[in-house]
C-alpha cells in the first residue's frame, strides 16, 4: 500500500511519539559465546565454525567467561543491577541462519537490569531508563542469489556463512522513552551515540554501526496528544548510523501519523530502514504465531556472579562520560556551544584522538565539525565511517602549519587520502599541491601580470595599493592557487616601487 506521510512538524502537533530502543552490541571477545571458534571479521566463509556453532547433532555449548565479564561491565556502565543468579533461556523459532533453530539468550532472568543513562540534547539532559541488558548470540549471514545463477533446482536460493553464528551479543533494552515530541529524534540519536561512547570506553566492543558491531532497533508508536492509550508499535531494524536513527524516528512518526489520520490501524511489524531514501519498508508481520516457547537452557549452568567479582569489575570502569566531558571542555577551552556541537556530531573521541596526534583542539574542532561534518552529511555516513582517521587529520594540519599547503589545498589532500592515494604527504606530492614560494617562478608570473595590466601597475606606482589585489589574483590564477599569496604581494610591491 502507498503511505500518506504527514510532515513531522505537523504530526507532532497531534501525536506524541513513544519510543523504545534496542541496541545489540557485538562483543570483541577472541572466541564465540559458546565455543572456541575465532570471531575475526571478514574471514573466508565457514572457516570459523565447529560442531557447536554449526549445531551438529550432539554438540554442547560452554559459556565464554570473558563474555560474561563484558556483560557485567556493560551492565555496570549502564547503572544496572547485576543479577545474583540468572539463567540462559532458549528462544525457539526457525530461521536458516540460526543453526540450532533456537537462539540461546536470556528471558526473564537477564544478567543486568534496572539501569539508566543521561543524554544531552540542546543543553537539556534526558534520563533514558534501561530495562535490561542480557547475553545472547549472533546469527549467521545469508546472501540471496538470483534465479538466473541459481544452482539449486535452478531457482532463487540463498547461501549461508556461519562464521558470525554464535558471536557474543549484549542486547540493551530501554523502557519506553517519552520526551517532548520535537526532541524525540535527537534524543534517540543522542542515546545511541551515548551508549556507543560508553561501551567504546569499556573496550569490550568495536561499536562500529557501519560494520554491525553496534545495531539499533527503533520501536515507535504514536499516541494522540492528551490521551494515554498506547498505539501499535513498529520495530525498525538495520538502522546503520546515528543519523539514520534520527531519520528513522522522523519517518516512522510521519508514517504512523498518516495511517492514524486516515483512520487505519498501524500493523505491528518489523520494518527495514532504507539508508538511501531515508524511509522504512515493511518486513515480517508480527502475530500470535510469534510464540518463542522460552524455557531455561538445560545445557548451560546458571550464572551467579559473586559480589566480589562484580565490585572488582566496577573498579575497572573508566571515568563517567559527564565527568570526562567536563574535563575535556576545560582542557580544550571549548565553549558550552562548542562542546554541545562536538557531542551532537559524535566527534568527541575523534577530536581527542586528533589532539593526541599533535593538533591543537581548535584546529581539530575546525576540521571535524567543519569539513568532515560537511562530507559526512553529503554521504550520509557517520564521522568515524568517512575513511579518514584522526592521525591523518593531524598530519594534514601539520603540513598546513609548516606552510607547505594552505586550507584550500588541504581539502584536495583529504580527497586524495580518502580516495586511498596514500599518506597526506604522498597525496601532496602525487597531486602536486605544494604551495610555490620560490621567487624565480613567482617573479616571472608577477612580471607577466604587470605587463598584462599596465594601468593597474601605474596606479600602484602612484601609491594606490588597493589595486594590488587585482594583480595578486591574476598571479594566483596563473599558479592555480598553489602560490603563497603573501609572498606574491611582497614581490609586486618590490617591483613597483
Amino acid at each position: 500500500m502507498t503511505e500518506t506521510l504527514v510532515p513531522f512538524d505537523e504530526a507532532i502537533t497531534r501525536y506524541d511519539p513513544v519510543m523504545g530502543l534496542e541496541i545489540h552490541i557485538e562483543l570483541n571477545t577472541a572466541t564465540k559465546m559458546f565455543c572456541g571458534c575465532p570471531t575475526e571479521f571478514g574471514a573466508e566463509p565457514n572457516t570459523q565454525t565447529c560442531p557447536v556453532c554449526l549445531a551438529l547433532p550432539g554438540a554442547l555449548p560452554v559459556v565464554n567467561a570473558k563474555a560474561v565479564e563484558s556483560a557485567i561491565r556493560i551492565g555496570l556502565a549502564l547503572n544496572c543491577e547485576i543479577a545474583q543468579w540468572c539463567r540462559f533461556a532458549r528462544k525457539n523459532y526457525f530461521y536458516p541462519d540460526m543453526p540450532k533453530n533456537f537462539q540461546t539468550s536470556q528471558y526473564d532472568e537477564p544478567i543486568a537490569f534496572d539501569g539508566f543513562v543521561d543524554v544531552e540534547v540542546d543543553g537539556e539532559t534526558y534520563r533514558i531508563e534501561i530495562e535490561r541488558a542480557h547475553m545472547e548470540e549472533d546469527t549467521g549471514k545469508a546472501l540471496h542469489v538470483g534465479g538466473s545463477t541459481g544452482r539449486i533446482h535452478g531457482a532463487d536460493y540463498s547461501l549461508v556463512d556461519y562464521n558470525r553464528a554464535g558471536i557474543p551479543l549484549i542486547e540493551i533494552v530501554t523502557r519506553t522513552i517519552e520526551v517532548p515530541a520535537d526532541k524525540a529524534p535527537a534524543v534517540a540519536r543522542a542515546y545511541v551515540s551515548h551508549v556507543r561512547d560508553l561501551i567504546g570506553g569499556l573496550g569490550v566492543s568495536d561499536v562500529r554501526m557501519d560494520q554491525g558491531s553496534l545495531r539499533a532497533d527503533v520501536n515507535l508508536s504514536l499516541k494522540p496528544k492528551g490521551s494515554d492509550t498506547l498505539g501499535t508499535r513498529s520495530e525498525t531494524k538495520n538502522v546503520n548510523s546515528f543519523r539514520s536513527v534520527e531519520r528513522a524516528v522522523r519517518y516512522e512518526v510521519s508514517r504512523h501519523a498518516g495511517i492514524l489520520d486516515a483512520g487505519d490501524k498501524v500493523l505491528q511489524e518489523t520494518r527495514h530502514f532504507q539508508e538511501d531514501s531515508g524511509t522504512t519498508s515493511s518486513g515480517r508481520e508480527k502475530s500470535d504465531a510469534d510464540d518463542y516457547r522460552y524455557f531455561p537452557e538445560p545445557d548451560l549452568a546458571p550464572v551467579s556472579p559473586s559480589r566480589e567479582w562484580v565490585e572488582e569489575l566496577r573498579a575497572t570502569l573508566p571515568e563517567p562520560p559527564a565527568v570526562r566531558r567536563a574535563r575535556l571542555q576545560a582542557d580544550w577551552g571549548f565553549s558550552d556551544l562548542d562542546m554541545r556541537d562536538t557531542i551532537g556530531a559524535g566527534a568527541l573521541d575523534l577530536i581527542v584522538a586528533t589532539v593526541e596526534a599533535g593538533t591543537t583542539p581548535q584546529a581539530a574542532k575546525k576540521w571535524w565539525l567543519g569539513e568532515m561534518a560537511r562530507r559526512a552529511n553529503e554521504t550520509g555516513t557517520d564521522l568515524d565511517a568517512l575513511g579518514i582517521t584522526p592521525e591523518q587529520v593531524a598530519e594534514i594540519q601539520a603540513l598546513i602549519d609548516a606552510g607547505r599547503i594552505n586550507d584550500k589545498l588541504a581539502r584536495s589532500v583529504f580527497d586524495g587520502v580518502i580516495a586511498g592515494e596514500g599518506t597526506a604527504k604522498e597525496v601532496v606530492v602525487g597531486r602536486k599541491l605544494e604551495v610555490v614560494s620560490d621567487d624565480g617562478a613567482l617573479g616571472a608570473a608577477v612580471d607577466r601580470a604587470i605587463e598584462a595590466d599596465p594601468d593597474a601597475a601605474e596606479k600602484i606606482r602612484a601609491g594606490n595599493l588597493g589595486v594590488a589585489g587585482a594583480l595578486i589574483g591574476a598571479v594566483m590564477k596563473e599558479m592555480r592557487g598553489q602560490a603563497d599569496a603573501g609572498r606574491v604581494r611582497e614581490l609586486i610591491l618590490e617591483k613597483l616601487r
Binding site: 560442531p51 549445531a55 547433532p57 554438540a59 526457525f94 516457547r293
Partner: protein, 505 residues
C-alpha cells in the same frame, strides 16, 4: 579358548585372556565379527558394522601389547556403540531417516575415551528413532529382535545394544538412558544396564533427546563389566557444562566388594503393585529375600510423588526434545526433501517438508506434544508444573535415602512383549518406563540386573537398584552381591539359559 568361549566370556575375562596372551585382540574381535555375521541377520542389533576399523584397532593393540606397552584393562576388548553417539567416519543416524548417511566430523567424548583405551568399535547399534520409544520398533531401519524370543521386543530405546550383548555379538555396549533406555532393555534381554548419576558421563557428542534427563552408560553381561566400562567413560568433561567436576565413584572396587551385610535396602511401595506382571513380582520378591538372607536390612519406603512421575516425564522430555530436534532442518546436514507440487519452494517450506518426511510418527507426536507444553499460555500449566513435580520427587528421594542406602524395584512392569503389541497405544508403551523414569527426573543413578525368568513366559525379569546422586558405587556393590547369590543358585549366568540362536551359514 574356543571361538565360542571368546564370545561368551565377560569383558573382565577377555581382558585377562588378552593380558595373559591366551588370545589376541584380533582373534577376539574376529570372533565377534563372525558371530555378528552369523546371528545379526536374525537379531538386527546393528545398523552399521565396521569390521575393518575394529580389526585395525585390534591389530594395533596387539602390536602395542607385544611391545610391552602399558595398556588400559579393556584394551583390545571389542565394544558396540549405540547409534546416538557421534563417531568420526562412522554413520550416526539415531535410527532416523533424517540422518540417513550422516557421518560426524567429530567424536563424542565417550568415543574419545573408548578410542584412547583401544577398544575396537564393532559398529553402531539399533535404537528407537532419536531414542523415543521402549521397544526399538520406532527405528526407521526396522526393529531389533529379542534373542530370548525373536517374536518379541528387546525393549528400547537401546534394544540394539542390549540385544547385541545378550546375543553374544559384543561383550560390551554403550547405551543412553533418558527414561529407562538402558535399564528396561537390560531387563527384557537378561543383561546388565546402568544409568549413572546425571553428569557422571559426558553428554558431549550424544545426540540430545532431553538435555536434563539424558545420560550414557554401560550395557554388559555382568555387574563387574559394567563397572569397568563405567570407569572408562565416566568423569568430568569441560565440553559438557552439566558434567560433574569430581572423581568417578569407585565403581570397580565396589563391584569387587559385593557385600550387602548391613546394607539398608528400601523397597519402593509405589513400584511393584498393580500393573506389574505376576512373574515379575515373584522373581523380585525372591531376589529381595536373597538380599535379606545375605544380611541386608530390607524395609519398605513410600515415595508418594512418584504417582506424578510419568506425567511429568511426558511433559519435560517432549518439551526439551521439541527444541533439541529443531536443528534437524535439512539446511546444514540431513536429508532434504522438497515439498511435492512446488518447484520453487522457500527454505521454510523445505524445512517443513523435510521434517515431515524425515521424522517418524513417534518423533512427530512428541515434538507436537512438547511444542504444546511450551507454548504461551500453557507453559506454566504443563512444562512449569512438570518441573515442579521433579522437585517434589527429589525431596521424596532425599527423605527415603535418609533412611536407606539403596532403593529397589522391578526394572520393568512386564517381561518382553510381542512386537507390535503396544505400537498403537502410546500410553501403554509409555507405562513400560514407570519404574525407570523417576531416576532420570531427579538425576540419581540406577542399575538393572537380571534376576530370573517369569514362570508364565520363561522370559527374563530385571531388578533395579537406585542410589543417591554421586553414590553410583552403592549400585555396583549391591548389584554384584545379588548377581553372585543368583548365579550360585542358577549355577551360571542367566544368559546361559537363553535359547541357541539360528546361525546363518
Amino acid at each position: 579358548m574356543s571361538t565360542r568361549d571368546l564370545t561368551t566370556a565377560t569383558a573382565d575375562e577377555l581382558s585377562q585372556t588378552l593380558a595373559k596372551g591366551d588370545a589376541s585382540s584380533v582373534e577376539v574381535t574376529q570372533a565377534h565379527i563372525d558371530r555378528i555375521a552369523a546371528v545379526d541377520g536374525t537379531i538386527h542389533a546393528f545398523l552399521h558394522v565396521d569390521a575393518e576399523g575394529a580389526l585395525a584397532t585390534a591389530a594395533d593393540i596387539d602390536a602395542r601389547r607385544s611391545k610391552g606397552e602399558k595398556l588400559h584393562a579393556l584394551a583390545g576388548v571389542p565394544i558396540a556403540v549405540k547409534d546416538i553417539v557421534a563417531t568420526i567416519g562412522l554413520p550416526t543416524t539415531c535410527g532416523s531417516k533424517i540422518l540417513d548417511g550422516w557421518i560426524p566430523p567429530y567424536d563424542a567424548t565417550i568415543t574419545r575415551h573408548i578410542k584412547a583405551a583401544g577398544l575396537p568399535i564393532l559398529g553402531k547399534t539399533n535404537m528407537d528413532e532419536f531414542a523415543m520409544g521402549s521397544s526399538t520398533e520406532h527405528s526407521a531401519y526396522g526393529p531389533t529382535y529379542n534373542p530370548w524370543d525373536i517374536t518379541r521386543s528387546p525393549g528400547g530405546s537401546g534394544g540394539g545394544s542390549a540385544a547385541a550383548v545378550a546375543a553374544f555379538e559384543a561383550p560390551l555396549a554403550i547405551g543412553t538412558d533418558t527414561g529407562g533406555s538402558i535399564r528396561q532393555p537390560g531387563a527384557l534381554t537378561g543383561t546388565v544396564g546402568v544409568k549413572p548419576t546425571y553428569g557422571g558421563v559426558s553428554r558431549y557428542g550424544l545426540v540430545a533427546l532431553a538435555s536434563s534427563l539424558d545420560q550414557a552408560g554401560p550395557v554388559t553381561r555382568s555387574v563387574l563389566d559394567a563397572a569397568l566400562l563405567h570407569e572408562l567413560i565416566g568423569g568430568h568433561d569441560p565440553c559438557d557444562s552439566t558434567s560433574i567436576d569430581g572423581p568417578v565413584p569407585a565403581v570397580v572396587a565396589a563391584a569387587r566388594k559385593a557385600d550387602v551385610k548391613g546394607l539398608k535396602v528400601g523397597i519402593i511401595t509405589e513400584l511393584g503393585g498393580d500393573g506389574f506382571q505376576p512373574g515379575v513380582r515373584a522373581r523380585f520378591d525372591e531376589a529381595v529375600a536373597l538380599l535379606t538372607g545375605a544380611g541386608a536390612e530390607v524395609v519398605e519406603v513410600s515415595l508418594p510423588s512418584l504417582e506424578h512421575a510419568l506425567a511429568a516425564y511426558y511433559l519435560v522430555m517432549p518439551s526439551e526434545a521439541s527444541s533439541n530436534l529443531a536443528r534437524f532442518d535439512a539446511m546444514r546436514y540431513g536429508v532434504r526433501v522438497p515439498p511435492t507440487g512446488n518447484d520453487d519452494p522457500s527454505a521454510e517450506q523445505v524445512m517443513a517438508s523435510s521434517r515431515d518426511a524425515g521424522f517418524g510418527d513417534e518423533v512427530k507426536r512428541r515434538i507436537i506434544l512438547g511444542t504444546y507444553a511450551l507454548s504461551s499460555g500453557y507453559y506454566d500449566a504443563y512444562y512449569g508444573s512438570a518441573q515442579k513435580v521433579r522437585t517434589l520427587i527429589a525431596s521424596d528421594f532425599a527423605a527415603a535415602f535418609a533412611k536407606v542406602d539403596v532403593l529397589v524395584s522391578p526394572t520393568s512392569p512386564t517381561t518382553a512383549f510381542e512386537l507390535g503389541a503396544k505400537l498403537d497405544d502410546p500410553l501403554s508403551m509409555y507405562l513400560q518406563d514407570v519404574a525407570t523414569i523417576p531416576a532420570n527426573l531427579v538425576g540419581i543413578p540406577g542399575l538393572s540386573l537380571p534376576i530370573g525368568l517369569a514362570d508364565e513366559d520363561r522370559l527374563p525379569v530385571g531388578l533395579q537398584f537406585l542410589a543417591p546422586q554421586k553414590a553410583d558405587d552403592r549400585l555396583y556393590n549391591a548389584g554384584a552381591a545379588l548377581e553372585r547369590l543368583l548365579e550360585e543358585k542358577w549355577g551360571g549366568s542367566l544368559l546361559a539359559q537363553a535359547p541357541e540362536l539360528e546361525v546363518a551359514r
